[in-house]
């Protein structure tokens, strides 16, 4: 494949002068999406709050793309009574590759600023799907941990295997659980929205140019 058929035509400078907004808008939206995704590496994506009478301030576990923070030690301590594995053992592969992966998919989004053909859609697709992949993976691990309890644990007869909800309220023993998105996940969703809107304007800006250059090529 020729580089030109992948990158698509450049914008003639006269055209750029005449209608700067048309070309700047998709660039701005897509670049913002990439920046948001990179920034989301530094903030939590999801949290679970456990509420019980003897913990008036609640217990919180916060999930970043590559680590867990909060009262994980205390929650693990309690989980051993029901035979749940330590939370740190979950999603070790995902945690180890997440930072590099997100940086790469952000750069792919950024590359659509230069790629003016329909390939841009494919380049932006991983970033577009990121929040949904995160939630799906989270659901998998919650289910995996909740369903695989040690049958010899002290409370195994009163707490049966269960699936904690990915979002919303649940119950385990005397604990009410509240699972909610954190700022990082919201940033990822906003990035998806920005990408969608950005691709729309991307197409509006570059499609006529691609068509024009195709026509020239045919002629």
């Amino acid at each position: 494949m020729k580089t030109e058929s992948f990158l698509g035509p450049r914008v003639p400078s006269a055209e750029m002068e005449a209608d700067r907004t048309t070309y700047l808008l998709p660039t701005l939206l897509l670049a913002s999406a990439a920046v948001l995704l990179i920034a989301s590496l530094f903030v939590p994506y999801w949290k679970m709050t456990l509420l019980a009478p003897q913990y008036p301030k609640g217990l919180v576990a916060k999930t970043y793309v590559n680590r867990l923070t909060g009262d994980v030690k205390e929650i693990d301590g309690l989980n051993h009574y029901i035979g749940m594995r330590p939370l740190g053992e979950a999603a070790s592969l995902e945690k180890s590759v997440s930072v590099v992966s997100i940086v790469v998919i952000s750069l792919l989004v950024l590359s659509t600023v230069f790629v003016h053909t329909r390939w841009a859609l494919l380049l932006a697709l991983p970033a577009l799907l990121l929040p949904f992949l995160f939630l799906a993976d989270l659901a998998y691990w919650l289910n995996n941990f909740g369903q695989n309890l040690d049958p010899t644990a002290p409370l195994s007869s009163s707490i049966k295997p269960f699936t904690p909800p990915v979002l919303g309220r649940g119950t385990v023993g005397q604990f009410a659980t509240v699972a909610a998105p954190e700022i990082g996940l919201i940033m990822a969703f906003v990035a998806s929205l920005l990408i969608l809107v950005g691709l729309y304007f991307h197409r509006r800006a570059y499609k006529p140019l691609v068509n024009a250059s195709d026509e020239i090529a045919e002629a």
């Binding site: 808008l25 205390e74 509240v178 919201i186 809107v197």
Partner: protein
């Protein structure tokens, strides 16, 4: 183009909206009772219980709903329980009894743990264990004459000891024994920046309590005022930087440090200037009569700033490893003065601005008010006569500002924020409120009102009432007898600490608090938010004695038993609901050293350990490391367990010590 902008704006809008906390749960605000009157249901309860309107207001002022906290913390001496008691005000709930001089099993204090052993060893008398005490006067640390909430000190009257308690964890960190006296009373009081903790003798003995017959009383028996240097960083009293000043054998009583205009001075009353030596069995007047003959005793006026200079210049003698400024040096250097005071008084209390010393007459119905300005003038004018020891006795009329007749048995005075003083009247069993003169009130020095208390009040305490900035709120009357106040619990009755509202006019008695764990002498009351106590230790593996990470901290996975001949060293962790390791096998005669780290970080997740037959009791608060060692001198099978009900599987949290013959 316009709708491009619209899209941008809406995207930004989405960002802002989703940035809001989606997880916030709705909290229900408690609804206050509307209107002026109490609801009918409350009135019905009051009627059924026969409560007066005053009872209802007392109940409403003192009730703290579940989950809410008190506005003030009160530190009360525990008397001959040897402890320090912490209570909330206005609820008067006891929050904690801090073990100080006497072993206490719950806190694992004095039952094997190395840290408590080290603290208690500081209090050995003649190298011997001495497990009784009589705590009297707690003193909160101060900065610029106001409580700073960092430390509290307390004395043991019976053995002349002083203890330091750290208010980050409310635990005793140090006990020092005064090497030259066996009994104190004017202790503990702090200088306005807690540079020194003051300890003054009560009953005179020869210094170092060596034997001397009583007919050598005047020449050999002495009192002593000791200024213990406090190192705030280390949280320790430093004996090498401390010094004592020799005093005549007048049985010094309560003291107070000067502040603001009287900063640099200490004032102590006395009550045996008669130098009576008792002996009722030989036909002499008993002590109670012998020491009460004179109409005047002596207020001791000590310039500690000057004494510090003399100590630093090396003009001291060393007696049992303590620097002592002799009485002659003290007189020569202008450190020590006396002023007549009526009559066998108790408290000597400095007014908030430091202008006056209020002496409560005990056997005289007045409080006598001494002016610092006049004292300094009399010293400058050398307006004095010497006492039998050559100490200048300042002219009474030259130094006294006023006398106020309050009633019988005035003992001790506290202050409010409006120029009033409150003095306990032991014999009248009442609290007197009176008005200070200038600069507090142009027309002052007069009794305002008295309120009966039940019964026989000793000290009293008002909110921050002995600082430069009293709060003028609560007052507690520390009554020695309760007689009929409480349901009978046998012939040893609880004391009665009575809460009084002094923000109203007249004062209102609110609540009787039964004190069934000791006899509080003095108390101090501090605004609770000045104290920043830890919920758990700052780090797992903490050594609370030195407030640092312990070298014996054991992390999960590193638990082990090391054996070296007959030396067995155990590195153990405790977490809900098991110890690791659980089985300890040793041979009879082995020396066992046992370190336990509570690896919990949850608030209140304390673990304990008691080993039967070996007299071991430990308390490991979250993060704490506790160590013990003992010789396994009894063979047998010893089941030990966690003594704190830590979890549903608390009973299962145990282990075996197997000592093989």
């Amino acid at each position: 183009m316009k709708w491009h902008k619209l899209v941008l704006i809406s995207v930004i809008g989405v960002l802002v909206l989703t940035g809001c906390d989606l997880t916030r749960t709705q909290q229900e605000e408690p609804q206050a009772v509307e209107g002026g009157a109490l609801p009918q249901a409350a009135m019905d309860i009051a009627e059924e219980r026969g409560l007066s309107p005053a009872d209802i207001s007392a109940a409403l002022k003192t009730y703290i709903p579940s989950g809410q906290h008190d506005e003030y913390l009160m530190f009360l001496s525990g008397g001959h329980s040897g402890q320090l008691i912490v209570a909330g005000v206005p609820s008067m709930r006891i929050l904690k009894n801090i073990a100080v001089f006497v072993p206490e099993s719950w806190q694992g204090y004095g039952f094997g743990s190395w840290d408590s052993r080290e603290v208690l060893e500081g209090g050995l008398v003649d190298g011997k264990e001495n497990l009784m005490a009589d705590t009297h006067h707690p003193a909160l640390s101060e900065t610029n004459g106001d409580y700073d909430g960092q430390y509290v000190f307390i004395n043991d009257k019976a053995n002349a000891r002083v203890a330091v308690i750290d208010l980050r964890d409310f635990e005793t960190k140090q006990i020092v024994k005064n090497p030259n006296v066996l009994s104190n009373h004017g202790a503990t009081f702090v200088t306005p920046n807690t540079d020194y903790v003051i300890e003054t003798t009560q009953y005179s003995t020869p210094l170092g309590w060596e034997y001397a017959p009583l007919d050598e009383y005047e020449e050999k028996y002495r009192g002593l005022i000791t200024l213990w240097k406090f190192d705030r960083e280390k949280g320790r009293l430093i004996q090498d930087e401390s010094f004592s000043i020799e005093l005549p054998p007048y049985w010094q009583d309560l003291c107070d440090a000067g502040k603001l205009v009287s900063d640099g001075w200490v004032f102590c009353g006395s009550f045996n200037t008669e130098m009576a030596t008792g002996g009722v069995e030989n036909g002499n007047p008993p002590f109670e009569a012998g020491v009460s003959q004179r109409d005047m005793d002596y207020l001791h006026i000590v310039n500690w700033e000057k004494a510090k200079e003399v100590f630093e210049a090396g003009k001291t003698e060393t007696l049992n490893d303590m620097a002592v400024i002799s009485m002659d040096t003290a007189v020569e250097e202008g450190i020590l003065y006396l002023a007549p005071e009526p009559k066998s008084p108790h408290g000597a209390d400095v007014t908030p601005g430091g202008e006056y010393v209020v002496v409560a007459g005990k056997l005289d119905p007045h409080v006598t008010i001494y002016s610092m300005e006049k004292i300094e003038q009399a010293i400058a004018d050398e307006n004095w006569e010497p006492d039998p020891f050559g100490i200048p006795v300042l002219d009474f009329d030259a130094v006294v500002e006023a006398q106020v007749e309050l009633g019988l048995g005035p003992l001790h005075t506290q202050f409010d924020n409006d120029g009033h003083a409150y003095t306990s009247l032991f014999l009248d069993t009442a609290v007197a409120k009176w008005k200070l003169g200038p600069p507090y009130h142009d027309e002052g020095w007069e009794l305002v009102e008295t309120l009966p208390v039940q019964y026989n009040v000793g000290h009293l305490v008002s909110a921050e009432g002995d600082t430069v900035d009293p709060d003028g709120k609560w007052l507690v009357s520390l009554n020695k007898w309760s007689v009929d106040r409480f349901t009978g619990v046998g012939p040893l009755l609880p004391q009665n600490e009575q809460l009084i509202d002094i923000s109203t006019n007249p004062m209102q008695l609110l609540y009787d608090m039964a004190m069934g764990v000791g006899e509080p002498h003095y108390a101090q009351m501090i605004k609770a938010d000045k104290i920043d106590a830890w919920e758990v230790y700052p780090e797992v593996g903490w050594d609370p004695l030195n407030q640092t990470k312990s070298p014996y901290a054991t992390a999960p996975g590193e638990e082990r038993i090391e054996r070296n001949g007959s030396e067995v060293e155990i590195f153990m962790t405790a977490v809900r609901s098991h110890f690791t390791p659980e089985i300890i096998e040793v041979k009879k005669g082995d020396h066992v050293t046992w370190h336990i780290t509570n690896i919990e970080t949850a608030v209140d997740a304390t673990h304990g350990l008691q080993i039967p037959a070996y007299n071991v009791s430990l308390s490991m608060e979250p993060g704490e490391v506790s160590s013990i060692d003992f010789v396994a001198d009894r063979d047998g099978t010893f089941a030990w367990y966690c003594t704190e009900f830590c979890s549903a599987l608390h009973l299962e949290m145990m282990g075996y010590l197997l000592v093989e013959e």
